[in-house]
Subunit: 148 residues, 2 copies
């Protein structure tokens, strides 16, 4: 476990109100914004895991506005100072941060709550299966055994 270079965690504001809240996600003048290709949501059931996936081009900006999601990242960039480092982050409203993931990082994520666990990805490019690789949750390459 450690910290992967160029993986950013940015605390975000939740602004309370009488009728509900406003939750910041991303502004175009923030340093972690790298262009808008597509925004989509991904939901993950409690204990279920989505991944692993590695992008060759897409920069991900991830926010979890409802539920709680555990992200595990594995640095697969041979020229990185954190090559082969594993980083784990749990995002929720209680730890309301934006997770920015550069290309070349394997990522998987797991739902932690009984209700809806949902992430928003503001991706720098549109979905394109040809720029992403997939591996099963259990595999020979990624030395992480923490998904039950």
């Amino acid at each position: 476990m450690g910290t992967i270079k160029e993986v950013l965690l940015t605390p975000l504001r939740i602004i309370p109100g009488v009728s509900g809240e406003v939750l910041h996600a991303l502004k175009e003048d923030e340093s972690s914004f790298h262009g808008f290709g597509e925004a989509y949501f991904s939901t993950v059931q409690k204990d279920a895991v989505k991944g692993w996936k590695k992008h060759r081009e897409m920069i991900l900006n991830l926010v979890v506005p409802a539920g709680s999601i555990r992200f595990v990242l594995f640095d697969d960039r041979p020229d990185s100072k954190s090559f082969r480092t594993i980083q784990e982050v749990i995002l929720s409203r209680e730890n309301y941060q934006r997770l920015t993931v550069p290309p070349g990082i394997w990522m998987a994520f797991q739902g932690l709550e009984d209700g809806v666990n949902i992430l928003l990805n503001i991706a720098s490019i549109r979905h394109d299966p040809s720029e992403a690789e997939n591996l099963p949750v259990k595999n020979e390459l990624i030395p992480f055994q923490g998904f039950v």
Copy 2:
């Protein structure tokens, strides 16, 4: 009640999966994309109302990934063919569409479910209080009495 010109409703895909779903929101090559200024969430409690608000510049792209939200729009553009028309839309996962709102429209929205009612706005410009006007839920200008 009616339909306001330039207010768009675009059906979006929900892609099922074993571990959870993927819910489309917006791609940069879609006609309702008008630039990325900011993305933020707004939550609204059951029966509570947020609004009225009218933007002079911002184009809103609204998606409701959890809960159910009732939107009421009032066309306040004197040169519009739908001037003074009221339009009502309920968005949820059961009616999963994107609502695109141009400048010059008064909008208010109400939470409909007991749990979390949440919208994502992918706004064409960053938040700027000087380009928006606000009115209380009950006011003299907007002839809508349907908020309890």
